[in-house]
């Protein structure tokens, strides 16, 4: 019996030790299994990473080569960007205009019988837009006025002239010559009709040429409008305020236009001065065959100085006889 107990004891101890070891081994094997799974996963991850690393290295290399092989495209200049941005091109600076003309290849030697200039410069160039009731050659050439446009405008200005002439005949006042004054005529301010006449003129040229060219033509017809009475006085809108403040009050007010011809002696010869008093200032000049007859009175004396002299019965200076 003791042997059995001893055997049972020893076997039980052995079984416990075996069981413990087996349990520990099983735990280790589970750990190994987990470890193996993790290693497998890690191996797969490593393979994936190596592949990814290779791909990325290749990608970086190829991209770097692509980047370095990119053609260098120069940036567009600020002026070109300004033009493409749709900004107004009417206010380019002088430098920008010069650069743009160079970019376009326009200069004296490349444009043949023509010249390319900026519209902005056109504003600063002086020429008479109108000559009497006709457009000037300069206006026709610079504003590219077509024959039909010209015809429409001149028809309109002729009608304005006729209206003005009819009004002048009706309102002109003659003063009897006395002393050295050989002739004196006066026209009241054209205030009543000027505004409507100016409107007709403005609408007429806008209708014929469009707003842009009409504005240019009007800007270059200041003197004509003053002479024809479409504008009652000088345009003071462009006069600096510092100067405007110094002008006498009557200078900017509408007033009658008066023509006086005054004879004077100089040495052995005598001459006749023309004195024109009108809104905005007076003008004095010696009359001669080359001296233009005042526009305001031209409708009354289409023949100019000679017709006036015949009508008033005075003798013109010697230089008229030479021509």
């Amino acid at each position: 019996m003791k042997r059995v107990l001893l055997a049972i004891f020893l076997l039980a101890v052995g079984a416990v030790v075996f069981g413990t070891l087996r349990h520990a081994t099983a735990a280790i094997r589970r750990d190994i299994s987990i470890q193996s799974a993790a290693s497998a996963q890690q191996s797969a991850g490593l393979i994936r990473l190596r592949s990814e690393q290779q791909q990325l290295s290749d990608h970086v290399q190829q991209t770097g080569q692509l980047l370095s092989s990119q053609p260098s495209v120069p940036a567009l200049g600020r002026l070109a960007q300004k033009i493409l941005s749709g900004a107004s091109l009417q206010n380019l600076t002088a430098a920008e205009t010069e650069q743009l003309l160079a970019e376009l290849g326009f200069n004296w030697n490349t444009t043949g019988d023509y010249l390319i200039i900026s519209k902005k410069s056109l504003s600063g160039i002086s020429f008479d837009g109108m000559k009497g009731v006709k457009l000037s050659d300069a206006a026709i050439a610079t504003l590219a006025i077509t024959p039909s446009e010209r015809s429409a405008i001149e028809t309109m200005t002729r009608q304005l002239g006729d209206t003005r002439a009819a009004w002048a005949k009706e309102h002109v006042q003659r003063t009897e010559p006395s002393g050295d004054i050989v002739a004196q005529y006066s026209l009241p301010a054209y205030t009543d009709l000027a505004q409507s006449q100016l409107a007709i003129f403005t609408n007429g040229i806008v209708s014929a040429l469009g707003a842009q060219r009409a504005q240019w033509l009007q800007d270059h017809s200041d003197r004509w409008m003053e002479d024809t009475g479409l504008r009652a006085g000088p345009d003071f809108s462009k006069v600096p305020p510092e100067l405007l403040a110094n002008l006498p009050p009557d200078a900017v007010q509408p007033k009658p236009t008066t023509l006086k011809l005054i004879r004077y002696q100089s040495g052995d010869d005598w001459y006749i001065n023309c004195q024109l008093e009108q809104a905005g200032g007076n003008m004095t000049c010696g009359i001669s065959p080359w001296q233009p007859f005042p526009e305001a009175f031209k409708s009354l004396f289409p023949g100019g100085w000679k017709e006036l002299a015949e009508r008033e019965g005075f003798e013109l200076p010697k230089n008229f006889k030479k021509n």
Partner: protein, 564 residues
């Protein structure tokens, strides 16, 4: 072979091979012991035989449990005592229903005239049990099994004398037991007599009956696991321990080895994992960096391509715009282009166009003039360089000749002027002409004959803002004078000026004097007082000191007059 070895062998043969003869031999050898013990215990021959059958029946069932060093007589004795007690308990219950005294007298011979050892018999079993197993075995073999001293010695692996001595010693211990119980006359001889008296001999028939009865209760021969267990049961304690140790150690060692291997595998796996993890982390870092680099490069490439594409597209658009503008301006059926910054004019109309103050000091050609001359940037730079040099030289020459005076000669000063100053510049002479000739020559060379004709035509006209006046071309032959003054008009102080040379003059009432104060502000678009006063066409040598004199007058007089 000693008896015990013989007993063991017989038991093995019976247990393993079912050898009934071997078992019968065992019964034959030990039946006297069992029978005698049972008989003196229960005092009934029939009961003793029944007990003997039971004892040997137990032996037959437990034969496989015996080990070589187990004492079969000792085991049989103890078992017989236990069986006897069990039998007696059953018998007692039966006898209580009978009259015990009568029955007892008929079943047991205890004559009064029996010797003294008879008194020892009741205590004999207790006495034997009190002995050590070796002593008890010796006595049982010698007296109950009636073995010779030689057989007893052989069973104990000693000689006959030594067996005799052990028997004697055991008898002495037995007598001492009795003496301690008050039996002073219990000598060794009495003890031996008690043993001899209680011994008995079984007949061959009894032996056969007992063996047969025992064998009926015995299990069949053992095989397989039973044989193994039988085999194990036959091992000594040391052998059992050794076998158990072997049986347990082997799998434990195998398991321990397995565990060690697994642990090593795990450790190796972990080490490999850690190394791989390091590589993984390193690779991951590298991949992350590559991702960042690739992303940056992609972005750069995309940006570069986008920028290049945008630039190319812009360049294409600009080129298209230029082509359209060129086509528009150079078309045979040219029309006014509302959407172009440029217009086309015929060159033949140029003589009828005028540019107001085409040149500005100290050497700038106005935009209108450069465009009307169709100057390239290089031509313009050359012309302006010549102009700047000309004005510098001219200013130097004029400065050396300029003088101030309080009395104007060539110009008119109002009589009511509060103060006046005249600046006189005599004719510059050949020095001035040298400068102007150089300028005009350089300009002609720069622009060529065609444009020079236009330019020279401009030089012929004279007037306030003519090129002739601005370039001071007449200053070579004519002296000139600029007079400036201050006068009061309508309660305000005004600055005026008059310019004159030997052939022409012009004057202006000028501007309010307060405009010349240091803190006076001009309206926007008016670059200078010189332009406001219309003095820009005069040499700066003249206009500069004149304007400075007016500023001094403003500072002095307006401070005196207060708010004027």
């Amino acid at each position: 072979m000693n008896e015990r070895q013989s007993d063991f062998e017989w038991l093995q043969r019976f247990a393993r091979a079912g050898d009934q003869n071997a078992f019968r031999d065992l019964v034959r050898r030990h039946v006297d012991l069992v029978l005698a013990t049972a008989l003196h215990k229960v005092g009934d021959t029939g009961g003793a035989e029944e007990i003997s059958q039971n004892v040997f029946g137990v032996l037959a069932r437990k034969a496989w449990q015996f080990a070589p060093d187990d004492s079969l007589p000792a085991w049989l004795y103890k078992t017989t005592l236990l069986e006897s007690k069990s039998w007696l308990r059953g018998e007692l219950r039966r006898r209580r229903r009978e009259e015990a005294a009568v029955a007892l007298g008929t079943t047991m011979k205890t004559p009064d005239d029996q010797p003294a050892f008879n008194a020892l018999v009741p205590l004999l079993d207790d006495a034997l049990i009190s002995l050590r197993e070796k002593d008890r075995t010796v006595l049982l073999m010698r007296f109950y099994e009636k073995q010779s001293l030689r057989d007893v010695g052989a069973a104990l692996n000693v000689g006959e004398d030594a067996a005799q001595k052990r028997v004697q010693t055991a008898l002495e211990k037995l007598s001492e037991f009795f003496q301690r119980r008050g039996y002073k006359t219990a000598t060794v001889a009495a003890a031996a007599a008690a043993l001899q008296h209680t011994a008995t001999s079984a007949s061959a028939a009894t032996v056969s009956t007992i063996a047969a009865a025992a064998l009926k209760t015995a299990p069949p021969a053992l095989a397989g696991l039973g044989a193994l267990l039988t085999r194990l049961a036959t091992l000594t304690r040391v052998q059992t321990a050794a076998v158990c140790l072997v049986v347990t150690t082997a799998p434990v060692l195998w398991q321990w080895h397995d565990q060690r291997q697994a642990a090593a595998t795990l450790a190796q796996g972990k080490a490999v994992y850690l190394v791989a993890q390091d590589e993984y982390n390193s690779l991951q870092t590298e991949v992350d960096q590559l991702h960042g680099k690739a992303s940056g490069l992609d972005s750069s490439l995309s940006g570069a391509m986008t920028t290049a594409a945008q630039r190319q597209e812009l360049a294409r658009k600009f080129e298209a715009w230029k082509i359209r503008i060129r086509a528009q301006l150079m078309a045979a059926d040219y029309q006014w282009p509302d959407d172009s910054p440029f217009v086309r004019i015929p060159k033949k109309i140029l003589p009828r166009l005028n540019v107001y103050a085409a040149i500005r000091q100290p050497g700038e050609i106005r935009q209108e003039a450069r465009e009307l001359l169709g100057l390239t940037p290089a031509e313009r730079e050359t012309a302006e360089s010549a102009l700047q040099k000309y004005f510098t030289d001219l200013d130097s020459l004029m400065s050396s000749k300029l003088y101030e005076t309080n009395r104007a000669g060539l110009s008119y000063v109002p009589k009511d002027a509060l103060a006046s100053r005249a600046y006189d510049l005599p004719a510059l002479g050949p020095g001035g002409k040298q400068y102007s000739d150089a300028l005009l020559s350089a300009f002609k060379s720069d622009v060529g004959d065609e444009r020079w004709q236009l330019f020279s035509q401009e030089l012929e006209s004279s007037g306030t803002d003519s090129l002739r006046r601005i370039l001071s071309l007449d200053a070579t032959d004519r002296g000139q004078e600029l007079a400036v003054w201050v006068q009061e008009k309508n309660g305000a102080l005004m600055a005026g000026y008059a310019w004159g040379d030997q052939s022409s003059s012009f004057s202006s009432d000028g501007l309010a004097l307060k405009l010349f104060l240091p803190d006076a502000k001009l309206s926007s678009g008016q670059p200078s007082l010189a332009e406001l006063m219309d003095l820009r066409q005069l040499p700066a040598t003249l206009s500069g000191p004149a304007l400075e004199w007016i500023r001094q007058q403003a500072a002095t007089r307006l401070n005196e007059k207060g708010d004027l």
